[in-house]
Subunit: 339 residues, 2 copies
C-alpha cells in the first residue's frame, strides 16, 4: 500500500520460478505470502499447494538469544561457514527497523552484508510486525517456499524475548540457543523455559580474554542441562563455545546439528516430528482465526472492557464473564453454547 | 446420570451455606460446579457470583511431581503440619481411580486418610476426567468455593505429566515442585519446563540412607536454578529437603511459602498476579468454548480426518487445510474470514 504494484504472475509461474531457484520470483512470492490483501491470500495458497511436493528437503534450524548476544554476527559467520561447505543456505531474519517505528536499530545495510552477497546464500528480512519477538505470522510458509527453491539449510532467527520461540520451535528441526558467558545480568530478558527448549547451546564471543570465562560457562550450563528431564528422543543437548570474530567453534556446531539430523532420521523421529508440526500448524491457524473473529466482533469489543474490569476487580467471576461474551457472540450466529 | 439426585437448594442457600463453612453444602456445591447439566451450569454461576466477594483470602499453593515422588504422602504430612499451625486447609486432589477405568491405583480409602479426618482440613478428590494430568476443568471454581468457605490455605495437586501444570500454575500463588534425590531415571516423565515454573523445589524422602543423597541433590538443583533467568518479581526459588516419614523439613517449606506471600504482597506482585490470572482465565474459557464449538461441528468432524491426513502426508498445506475448514464452518454462520 503506497508501493507501486508490479504485474502479478500466475500461481503456476511463481511456483515454477521458485522450483527453478529464481530468487527474484522467490522474493516476490514471499511478498505475496506476507500480504494481507484478499486477492493475495488466495494466490499465496495456490502457490503453496503447487510447491508443496518440492518441500521437506531442507534442514530447518531456529536460532534464538537475547539482544546483545551477537545473533546477527553469529548468523553471518555461521552462514559463511555453511556455504563454505557447499551447502545452499536461506536465512529468514527479523528486520529490526520495523520494530522501532521511524528508525532502525542497526541499520539494514550493515546486517549480514557479506552473507547477502554470497551466491550460495539468500537472506530474507521479514518485518517483525506487531508480534512481540518478531516472528512474522507467515514465517512458516516463507520457509516452505525457500525449501522448494532448493536450499539445504534454513536458519530462522528469533529475538528471544516473546512468544516467538515457541512458534519457531514448532516449525524447525533443531533449535539453537545462543548465550553469553556469565550467568548473571546477561540473562535478564530471556524467557523462562527457553533453555529447556534448546537442542544445543552455543556460547558466543569466546575469544581473547573471554575464552576462559566461556569455557567455565560451558561446563556450568552443561551440568545444568544434565538436571533437565531427558527428551523422549534420547538427544542430549550439548553446550559449545564459539567466536564469530575468530570463526572458531562453528564447525563443531554444524557437526552437532548434522549428527542430530542423522540420529533423528535413523530413529524415525525426524519425520514424525515434522508431521506433528504440520498438523499442529493447521490447528494453530484455525484457532487464531477463531480468536480473531471473536475479538474483532463489534459487540464484543464494546462489552469487553467493562467485563474485563469486573473480572480484574473480582466483581464478575471469570467464567461468568466468558459466558456473557460468548452468548453475545452467539446471538448473531448458530453457535451452540455447550459445556 | 445413574446417581440418585438430591433436592437442589437455591443459589442463595448454597452460597450462604458455603460462607458459613458448612462442608456438606460446600461439597454439594462443588458437585454442581463440576456438573455438565445445563441447569447446573447456570446455578453454578449464580453461586459463584454470590460467593465471589468472599473469595481471595486464601493462600493458593499448587503441588506437582511425577508419580512415585510421594505426592499424597507429602500432602498428608505437610497438610497435618499446616493444621497443627491452626490454619484451616483445603486440599483439592485428583482421584486416581478415575484415570484407570475400572480400578484404582492406590485405593481411595488409603489416600490422605488422616488428613481427611482432621477437623481443620477438607479434602476433595476430583475426578481426573479425560484431561491428561488430571486437572479437572472446574478446579479453579472449586478453589473459589473453598476460599469463600474460609480456608486459609488451599493445596492443589497435579500429576506432573501433562498440560495440567501450566493450568494450575495459572491459578495459584505459589507453585511447589516435588522431586526425588538423584537426577537420573527418576526424572523420566516430568514435563520439560516444569522446573522453571517452580517457586520452590522440595526433595522428598530425605530420611535414613537417603539423607546424604538428598543433600547432594539439593545443592545440585540449587546450582541449576541459579542458571535460570531471574523472575521479574525478584523471587529466587529455594531447594529444600524433607521427609514425610520423619516429618522433617515441613516447617521450612511452609516458612518459605509464607515468606513468599509476604514479599509479594509488600511489592504488590501478589494482587497484580491474581488480577492477571482472573483475566487470563476469562480468555482461556472463551477460547476453549470457541474451539469446542468448532471441533464439535458435524461438518468439521466429517471433513477433518481427510484434511488432517493430507496435511500429515504433505499433500495439503497446513494453512490451506485450515482455511478450508474455516470456510466450511462459516457457511452456516456470519463469521467473516479475515487475515
Amino acid at each position: 500500500m503506497g508501493y507501486k504494484r508490479r504485474k502479478r504472475l500466475s500461481a503456476e509461474e511463481y511456483a515454477n520460478g521458485i522450483i527453478e531457484g529464481d530468487r527474484i520470483i522467490l522474493s516476490r512470492a514471499i511478498t505475496i505470502i506476507e500480504s494481507k490483501l484478499n486477492e493475495d491470500i488466495l494466490l499465496a495458497e495456490q502457490i503453496l499447494e503447487k510447491i508443496l511436493p518440492y518441500t521437506g528437503n531442507s534442514l530447518r534450524v531456529g536460532i534464538t538469544g537475547v539482544p546483545g548476544v551477537g545473533k546477527s554476527t553469529f548468523i553471518e559467520s555461521f552462514g559463511k561457514y555453511i556455504t563454505s561447505r557447499e551447502l545452499k543456505l536461506a536465512v529468514l531474519t527479523i528486520d529490526p527497523s520495523s520494530q522501532i517505528s521511524g528508525g532502525s536499530i542497526l541499520g539494514d545495510k550493515t546486517r549480514m552484508e557479506e552473507l547477502s552477497n554470497d551466491p550460495l546464500a539468500y537472506v530474507r528480512p521479514s518485518a517483525a510486525g506487531s508480534a512481540l519477538g518478531g516472528v512474522n505470522h507467515k514465517t512458516r510458509e516463507t520457509m516452505l517456499l525457500c525449501e522448494a527453491a532448493g536450499f539445504d539449510v534454513i536458519l530462522i532467527e528469533t529475538v528471544g524475548v516473546g512468544q516467538s520461540e515457541t512458534t519457531v520451535k514448532g516449525m524447525v528441526d533443531f533449535f539453537l540457543l545462543l548465550m553469553l558467558a556469565g550467568a548473571g545480568d546477561e540473562l535478564q530478558g530471556i524467557k523462562r523455559g527457553i533453555m529447556e527448549m534448546a537442542d544445543a547451546i552455543a556460547i558466543t564471543k569466546c575469544d581473547g580474554d573471554n575464552i576462559r570465562k566461556g569455557q567455565l560457562a560451558r561446563a556450568e550450563y552443561q551440568n545444568a542441562l544434565h538436571l533437565f528431564p531427558p527428551s523422549e528422543t534420547g538427544w542430549s543437548p550439548k553446550v559449545m563455545t564459539c567466536s564469530s570474530l575468530e570463526n572458531s567453534g562453528l564447525d563443531q556446531i554444524l557437526e552437532n546439528i548434522l549428527e542430530f539430523e542423522k540420529k533423528m532420521k535413523d530413529k524415525g523421529y525426524f519425520q514424525s516430528k515434522r508431521q506433528e508440526q504440520n498438523l499442529h500448524w493447521m490447528h494453530e491457524t484455525i484457532e487464531s482465526y477463531l480468536k480473531r473473529a471473536f475479538y474483532s466482533d463489534e459487540d464484543i469489543t464494546k462489552e469487553l472492557p467493562s467485563l474485563e474490569n469486573g473480572v480484574i476487580q473480582n466483581k464478575v467471576p471469570a467464567i461468568a464473564g466468558a459466558r456473557k461474551l460468548i452468548e453475545l457472540f452467539n446471538k448473531k450466529r448458530n453457535f451452540h453454547f455447550e459445556d
